[in-house]
Amino acid sequence: MANTTVSPDIRAKYEPVIGIEIHVQLNSLSKAYSSDATEYGASPNTQISPITLGHPGTLPMFNEAVLESAVKLGIAVQATIREHNEFARKNYFYADLPKGYQITQDLTPICNGGFIEIKDAEGKPKKINLTRIHMEEDSGKSSHDIDPFHTLIDLNRAGVPLLEIVSEPEFRTGDEAYQYLTEMRRLVRYLEISDGNMEEGSLRCDVNISVRPVGQEKFGTKVEVKNLNSFRNVQKAIDYEINRQIALIEDGGTVVQQTFTFDAARGKTQLLRDKEDAHDYRYFNEPDLQPVEVVEEYVNSVKAGLPPLPKELFEKYRKLGLSEYDAALLTDSKEIALYYEAIIAHTNNYKAAANWMMGSIKSYLNEKAAHIKDFPLKAEQIAELIQLVDDSKVSNTAANGDLFKALLENPEKSAAELAEQMNLIQESNTDELQAWVNEALAKYPDKVEEYKAGKKGLTGLFMGEVMKLSRGKADPKLASKLVQETLEK
């Protein structure tokens, strides 16, 4: 194997060309073309039917949820949605494919075009264009290590609906691929069409990688990397493979069309198949499934039911004045974003709401290892806490500390009521405050002299005394103003 360290100078002479194919397993309750269940982790061969088993004489029936999911994703990536859809049989022989063919869409993918936006190495927005998205079905699962003498077949997964998403070969680095996958996973989760879980195989991807000298039009020979089990490994596999190919060419070698897997432990790609099998899938129309017409009214009705998408929310939050960092964190998961949306429906202090979300609420969730859907407080209650602070009725520290804690324990109470009970309401009555200020200053006549002589740092001491006298209830902003005014008199 060639030396895989490549100097930046040499690296700059080549342009990597990378394309990604993603298979997203949809979260429909039943399969794509039959009514058996799709639950993950069920005991083997319990979610099957004569259709799934490919028994003669059975007829598939297309699941409307699959169509809806595909249209949702198509709208979200701004693809062109095909009106006239047909299904095709992709024929190949394998033990976990009982029918002997996979039902897919060959010449009529439901979506063409569309894009996902990421950032390039300089941080500039970059569009990754999509070639197509089509609907198809998953195969069963083969286990090679349970029985030493046989391969065992579980057909629970056979027929589970998939969307295959094919990108244009527009990635230049592993990081771009990582961003794309993260964005795609976030999108399918926002759309609630898949749980996008790589560990459970509901999101899988294959990557094609080639390099060519900068300026050359013709693509280099590509290799395929399969069975990648995390986004980070996709990134690492790509970066490794780019270097391997460049080093190989620099050494006078040639890249051979091969299929690799990624060995995460050793951080390198590993040969899986030397030569692509001569595939001959003999595609033809699936005569058992009628064509599906996707009319404009249908697309519009799906569009009307779409949840807000991460990109839209991100832009909205930026417009509300949140930092890019805050906006990104808030839109990272749909549930967090929706909770934030609910808070800002009740307050205009967007920044404070973001701070609550990413501060006290997130800490609570982390501490309890809880999900936002289990969070005991209503968004209105958080808005009320924000209002109490904004009205200077409760200090920010108390609101995020004792009051928040107490509210979590008594979620049925209102924040104002609790603050009252806990004696946390700040004193903003000027007469009362003035009395404390006078008392505090009277206690340290010598310090008052020092202050007047120019030692302005002493305000802290007086403020501390005021807070002590008021037992923490003095509105600090107002008290500090009074202390200064009194001293300057």
């Binding site: 429909s28 309750l29 039943s30 009514s35 058996d36 269940a37 005991s43 083997p44 061969n45 319990t46 979610q47 099957i48 039917s49 004569p50 088993l53 029936m61 297309f62 699941n63 409307e64 949820a65 169509l67 047909e86 024929n91 190949y92 022989f93 033990a95 002997g100 083969s142 286990s143 090679h144 349970i146 029985d147 003498f149 046989h150 391969t151 065992l152 077949i153 579980d154 057909l155 590993q270 040969l271 899986l272 198949r273 001959d280 003999r282 129309n285 005569p287 499934l289 009628q290 064509p291 599906v292 017409e293």
Partner: protein, 99 residues
């Protein structure tokens, strides 16, 4: 037209079937007859006639996303030539050689 031995062998490979020399010859003859029969169609003038793919003009025959479990695991495994209590059993699919 005569279907070649190689064509039969290629199809047999794709379907993972094995034929003896005699069987390949029989296959060639049978397939010739079938293709010859189908070829009759090309004697007709089919200019402008769309191929018939579907047996009806129905469109959008969709099913609601509802689960209906129609058979049990035991029923599923019943007709399998080889099985254990949970799985269909097939000959070992050879694992690849790792380097």
């Amino acid at each position: 037209m005569k279907i070649s031995k190689e064509e039969v062998e290629k199809l047999a490979h794709l379907a993972r079937l094995e034929f003896s020399a005699q069987e390949i010859e029989d296959m060639q003859n049978d397939m010739d007859k079938i293709l010859g029969f189908v070829d009759k169609i090309s004697e007709l003038d089919l200019e402008g006639v769309e191929p018939l793919i579907y047996m009806s003009d129905e469109r959008n025959v969709l099913r609601k996303d509802e689960v209906e479990q129609v058979i049990s695991k035991d029923e599923a495994l019943k007709n399998a030539p080889d099985k254990d209590t949970d799985y269909f059993r097939v000959p070992k699919v050879l694992k690849r050689e790792e380097d």
